[in-house]
């Protein structure tokens, strides 16, 4: 089995005895887009820098494509990264000259590839202009272009949305999604939960350096909820089915994950067949904004409010599934079957 593109084990970083990242274990597989979210000072940038090999862990390990990036710097040939916001370049050089310089440091990149990434990031017209006069968003796009230059197997981006207008943001989302489809592992940090929902496959929630939760957004999209008369009977009926996974009870609802697209059609028959009344059946809408708020507040201890970006994301507007108990109930799920008496 090939090694994960990124793998951390019990990663810990202390500054002056104060823990900034604690016992962090996670992995990013090829083709995944993993977002680190968390309040300011949660340790996102430190994690990004530890994984990219810019900072040294106090304890624990980081592996990139199976190798320690400190011990094997050559592995960075397969890495593309933006770790500064805005992306840092020599201001007295043009965008193209900066990319040439990056190419040289990476061991050589053809001029055609440089032109290709500049056009891809819609910087073709500005390629010969000095970076010093670039806008914040243009610098960020040039940063992504530099990261893509060597067709990396691993992409690491710290706040890629910083300073970008909606069109640039859409462009970058598309580029990263395409990179992931082509098998690149993407790790990014962000404050924007809508960005996470837009194209990430996994999200890790950091609070005070601790990874308090990881969510497989792909799996959440396959999660459903049934409101029934007897949750325990319904649960028993469902959990023995081979096409059902992770059955749990939430109030009057049974929440479960389905294997395969057609399985939803069998759910109603199974529940009713067990002598249980079914009131509603639909996708379990995952409200990432509420989930994030609840998880962070829970970690801090009740009573502290967590501010979430107003754009706060809502996974499942289009009917994708989700899980768990939240105090603020998500919007009603789409009812696929009328209640039976």
């Amino acid at each position: 089995m090939p090694a994960p593109a990124i793998e951390t084990t019990s990663l810990t970083k202390r500054y002056g005895g104060r823990p900034v990242v604690q016992d962090l274990t996670f992995s990013v597989e090829p083709g995944q887009v993993y977002a680190l979210v968390g309040p300011n000072g949660a340790g996102k940038t430190t994690v990004i820098r530890l994984v990219a090999g810019l900072a040294f862990p106090t304890s624990g390990t980081v592996r990139m494509l199976g190798s320690d990036p400190h011990e094997h710097p050559a592995i960075r040939r397969k890495l593309g990264a933006v770790v500064e916001a805005p992306a840092a370049f020599y201001p007295y050089l043009s965008g193209r000259a900066n990319l040439r310089l990056h190419g040289r440091l990476a061991g050589g990149v053809p001029e055609e590839r440089i032109s290709e990434v500049l056009v891809q990031m819609e910087l073709g017209q500005a390629a010969e202009r000095k970076v010093g006069i670039y806008s914040l968003g243009m610098r960020q796009r040039l940063g992504v272009a530099a990261a893509l230059l060597t067709r990396p197997e691993v992409l690491i981006l710290d706040e890629p949305a910083s300073g970008m207008d909606p069109l640039s943001l859409h462009l970058v989302h598309g580029v990263l999604r395409d990179a992931a489809r082509a098998g690149t592992a993407v790790l990014l940090s962000t404050h924007h939960l809508d960005e996470v929902v837009a194209y990430c496959s996994h999200v890790g929630i950091l609070e005070e350096g601790v990874l308090i939760d990881q969510v497989d957004l792909g799996e959440r999209r396959a999660r459903y909820r049934a409101t029934v008369s007897d949750v325990h009977e319904a649960r028993l009926a469902l959990q023995v089915q081979p096409w059902v996974r992770e059955v749990s009870v939430r109030g009057r609802d049974v929440v479960f994950t389905l294997e395969g697209e057609a399985a939803i059609e069998r759910v109603a028959a199974t529940i009713v067949g067990a002598g249980v009344s079914l009131s509603s059946l639909g996708s379990d809408v995952f409200d990432l904004r509420s989930y994030y708020r609840e998880r962070v507040e829970s970690q801090r201890g009740r009573g502290q409010r967590v501010d979430v970006d107003d754009e706060g994301a809502r996974l499942g507007r289009d009917g994708v599934g989700a899980t768990r108990v939240v105090e603020r109930r998500p919007a009603p799920a789409v009812t696929e079957e009328e209640p039976r008496s």
Partner: protein
């Protein structure tokens, strides 16, 4: 490594401190060559263009040149920090030591480039006095400015070039000390000022005769020493350079960015 070196030398020309130094080193000899108070202060008149380089060097080696070299070498690293390009470069498949060694090499070559320019500017400033045979000395040989008798141009230029070469060599460890302090403080100003503070501190240590011959600042006047004693000076400078470079690399290798 050659790509890194080319990059670093290209960056050198972009540094503000280098441009500033070019102006200072171009203007300074002209000021000395035509200063009206030379006789009052030093008790002699300039009689040859070969004496201007001596005046330039004598008046700048104690403070001005070390300061200019320290500022530029500190800026070599400091500017990367200001632009935020340091992490960007370190994300590429070059080792930290390779990258810093490229800076160290540039910092080691820079004093020679600066002093070569300073020499040319000094010779140009002395054009008014001519470059023919003259009675006196270049000020950079054993006989000083007055006692060498008839000085042929060939001998004069040899003395001047040798002195400038030795002066540049003595400035190399100062540049590397500036790099070391930049690595420690992670900014250009801190690197340059700490180097200056260290030089002032060393100059104060002359009250300890036992260690005075080994001080970095003592070597700054090596360019007027007889050739026979230069072997020791060169060896000492090499030790300083190796130590400063090694400590810089060791610290840089363990830095978090």
């Amino acid at each position: 490594m050659s790509a890194l070196l080319r990059m670093e030398f290209a960056k050198l020309g972009r540094l503000t401190s280098v441009r500033f130094s070019v102006v200072v080193l171009a203007v300074f000899p002209a000021l000395w060559a035509y200063a009206p108070g030379i006789f009052d202060v030093y008790g002699f008149f300039l009689v040859s263009g070969f004496q201007v380089p001596a005046l330039s060097l004598l008046s700048s080696m104690e403070f001005l040149l070390p300061l200019l070299i320290a500022i530029t070498c500190a800026e070599l690293l400091g500017l990367e920090i200001v632009h935020g390009t340091l992490p960007t470069v370190l994300l590429r498949p070059v080792t930290r030591s390779q990258w810093l060694l490229a800076k160290v090499i540039v910092a080691s070559v820079y004093p020679f480039l600066a002093l070569a320019f300073f020499l040319l500017a000094s010779l140009a400033a002395g054009a008014f006095y001519g470059y023919g045979p003259f009675v006196g000395g270049t000020g950079l040989g054993r006989e000083g400015l007055l006692g060498a008798g008839l000085m042929e141009p060939g001998l004069a230029i040899t003395e001047v070039v040798r002195a400038y070469f030795m002066a540049a060599l003595a400035l190399v460890p100062i540049g590397l000390l500036a790099i070391l302090f930049s690595v420690l403080f992670m900014n250009a100003a801190g690197g340059a000022l700490a180097t200056l503070a260290m030089l002032i501190f060393m100059q104060l240590l002359i009250v300890f005769p036992g260690i005075e011959p080994y001080l970095l600042t003592t070597q700054l006047s090596a360019y007027v020493q007889p050739a026979a004693s230069l072997g020791w000076v060169v060896a000492l400078i090499a030790v300083y350079c190796a130590a400063f470079a090694a400590v810089s690399v060791v610290i840089f290798e363990r830095k978090d960015f």
